[in-house]
Symmetry: C2
Subunit: 321 residues, 2 copies
């Protein structure tokens, strides 16, 4: 490369390593970069990060279940926002490893920041990441973790909103769908808990309803529906609500007269159903706000840890309740 | 670490670098590993890959639009399958960079294999990746790229199946939905082309129907439906089909009598609609087969390039056509 650019090897090294201590003229820099491009030179991200002290990589563990529409959009917006701030987002597929072991795998890539949705990462994992050079660790989940910034997303509020709405509409015997699919516990448990809390101390009752995401499971539940004596159901989210509502309608149960149904996520499909589906609209944190939090934390790793509540939940009342 | 393990620094280095040329007893190895764990030592993936000659990282560019349900499941299954073969999957968020420039960004992470869905990567990008140490590049898309293995997914066959089905059902004036959302061209264009090909040389005609994924756009299209004189529509996929079918029904158009509607993807929601939605079932390549192709290619980078057709499409006839 030195020969092609007509400069010394030391100069090539200074330019490509972006060494500012040595004065090199702009035309020379340009010649070196052109030669590098021509020869197909690709810098080694990790080697470069060793020199620079840190990389521009933000690592996010890939979700352990296929991402739903709402989370998929959030992640996409977040990638855009981080990209605009000149970070590269890498989703790391650490399926099946418990949090602190996964943290060791993430640390091997030497990310400058790590953004962890959900639960599982503990204070030890945070420490491993920081020792390996991560300037910021941000969790997005129900609880803050020692040493990490936190966006606090309490899914209990989703259930609480649904439960309170159904009670206000005069319903007293309320079923709550708990998906049988693995990996959804971290959302479904707090949602169920939220409904219980909303009904606590009232004359209302809560019944847990396990449901698989398939028509047979829904038909079986619908077949024993009248025996359960429920007058309303919070169906976990809009997709489970669509599945259950169809099965109830096919079993001759009128909605909302006999049973009120409410979902969550406010997907468009709910507006396309008849009756139109009531739902809990969930405001996830904006990708831009989260990207800016990451950037602040990277710039000033010594700043106090930030804690933000970051989940808005409000009922959208339509025809099914 | 040497002090804690009670061994020499050279021994620590041999053990952690997994140097097999030097004989070290099992108890000593164990002591070193224990000391490493206690001190929170995390190997540097890139440094380790420099020593070993290659990493175990398979890089996949993150999709430039939020992934749909079908692709999301495929990616998830692929991650599992690669994980079982001891690879780590990293999704790289290179949104907005053209293929060969993106390849340079991927190359910086020194992946052992790169798996590229869609179009955009050219022979130059493949060469950059290989020079940087990638032992295999696999594309999953409509065309093979020089230097890379290819799973060939021709979405024209999806449209062809839909068009042929509608024609067989006696329909002659066939609309084809083309989503207005950006990033879907790479699927919607070949699907449209496939319908055209199925109708080629017959007395049938094809009308392109731009449609945004929102109720207003669907209502506008439904309002001018009768003026279009169509008797069938291939609605791009099941979600657009649900949207359009609802708008047509709300406008008083009976389905399938007046207009037949067919989607694609065979999502469960199609079975929950009334009338039940006909659809084109798409078989994506299995995650396991694809993981095994990657593994073969990594083990033997000199082997001849593989080319496999990898998309099955067949009509599932229900009530809407």
């Amino acid at each position: 490369m030195a020969r092609l650019a007509g400069v010394s090897r030391a100069t090539v090294s200074y330019v490509l390593n972006n060494t500012r201590a040595v004065r090199i003229s702009e035309p020379t820099r340009r010649r070196v970069h052109e030669a590098a491009r021509e020869l197909g030179y690709v810098p080694h991200a990790a080697a470069r990060s060793l020199r620079a002290g840190h990389s521009r990589m933000v690592l996010i563990p890939a979700p352990s279940v296929p991402a739903g529409r709402l989370y998929g959009r959030f992640l996409h917006e977040l990638q855009w926002a981080l990209g605009r701030l000149d970070y590269t987002v890498v989703q790391h597929g650490t399926i099946g490893l418990p949090g602190d072991e996964a943290a060791r795998a993430w640390a091997e890539l030497r990310p400058v920041a790590v953004l962890v949705p959900g639960t599982g990462l503990g204070p030890q994992g945070v420490a491993v990441l920081k020792r390996s050079g991560a300037r910021a660790v941000v969790t997005v989940g129900p609880e803050a973790v020692e040493g990490a910034h936190a966006l606090l997303m309490d899914h209990a509020s989703v259930g609480h909103q649904a439960g309170a709405h159904l009670y206000e509409r005069g319903r007293r015997r309320i079923g709550v769908v708990v998906p049988e699919e693995s990996g959804l516990d971290m959302f479904s448990r707090p949602r169920l808990e939220g409904v219980r809390r909303a009904l606590d101390g009232t004359d209302g009752s809560v019944t847990e309803l396990p449901l698989g995401y398939d028509e047979d499971s829904a038909a079986r539940l619908a077949a024993r529906w009248r025996g359960l004596g429920l007058d309303a159901v919070f169906a976990y989210n809009d997709e489970y609500a669509m599945l259950l509502m169809r099965a109830l309608q096919d079993a001759g149960i009128s909605i909302p007269e006999e049973t009120a149904v409410i979902g969550a996520d406010d997907l468009m499909l709910g507006r396309l159903l008849r009756p139109r589906l009531s739902t809990v609209h969930i405001d996830l944190p904006s990708g831009r706000d989260l990207a800016e939090l990451v950037d602040r934390a990277v710039r000033d790793p010594g700043a106090p840890l930030e804690r933000h509540p970051a989940l808005g939940a409000r009922v959208v009342h339509r025809e099914s309740t």
